[in-house]
Symmetry: C2
């Protein structure tokens, strides 16, 4: 997705909630868009120094509510954020148990269809209303294998 298209989409969703698409928010969205993986708040701010943590969290909350970003859980308790699926596309994660980093991995249609089937079955059995799934691979990234 082109950057202009990305910003247009995000701006549209924010305006629909009477919220502005400010410079800080733009930079957060762009940072997430450029990174091929979910980022922690400090990582997001590493490019936009001088922005206080509280502002970052507040903006992320707004973007979260607007359905622009999504929170991702790793193995540590550090929160990570990525663009929503309908913007970044559906994918899976490689979670490193060494350093906690999470990388993106594309999915495959075959895998998706099997998972959807599994979701339907599980949902029926336990009365859940399932609308999404997450498939994460747990292991060690290249750096942590040393």
């Amino acid at each position: 997705m082109k950057v202009e298209e990305l910003h247009a989409k995000v701006g549209y969703r924010l305006s629909g909630r009477a919220q502005r698409y400010t410079e800080v928010r733009r930079s957060i969205v762009e940072r997430l868009s450029r990174s091929g993986r979910p980022l922690t708040v400090p990582e997001i701010l590493s490019s936009a120094k001088s922005v206080p943590l509280s502002s970052a969290y507040r903006n992320l909350t707004v973007l979260l509510e607007a359905g622009v970003v999504r929170r991702v859980a790793g193995t540590d308790d550090q929160g990570r954020f990525e663009l929503a699926e309908d913007i970044a596309g559906h994918h899976h994660h490689l979670v490193c148990e060494g350093c906690g980093t999470v990388d993106d991995v594309p999915s495959s249609t075959r895998l998706e269809s099997v998972m959807d089937e599994a979701a339907r079955l599980a949902a029926e059995e336990q009365g859940y209303d399932v609308w999404s799934h997450r498939f994460d691979l747990i292991g060690l990234c290249r750096q942590c294998q040393g």
Copy 2:
């Protein structure tokens, strides 16, 4: 798995690390064993009142290091714990975005084989050493659908 067998297994792993299988640890393991889902620390303690949070966390850390329990991430930032896979068996999770509860779901051999294949491919491509995966279904539990 029978309770005696469970305790024998856990006790063995702890003794291998020069650590005792105390009453509190037994109660934690039994609580997790009985529950069909990952529990938060307060939930674990609900049956063993009078045990301080710090002790629970310390014991969970020991059990974590001994490979007896595993930490599970939901959608909220509340940590949840369950028995390790080789004790509780491999399964998946139903995560409720409403209340944060996580329920267990059994897996299927077909699903597993497809996932293992996916894991191999992803691992090769990005240089990860993958040894496990997690497949979680996200939605709303029966209670939260009202």
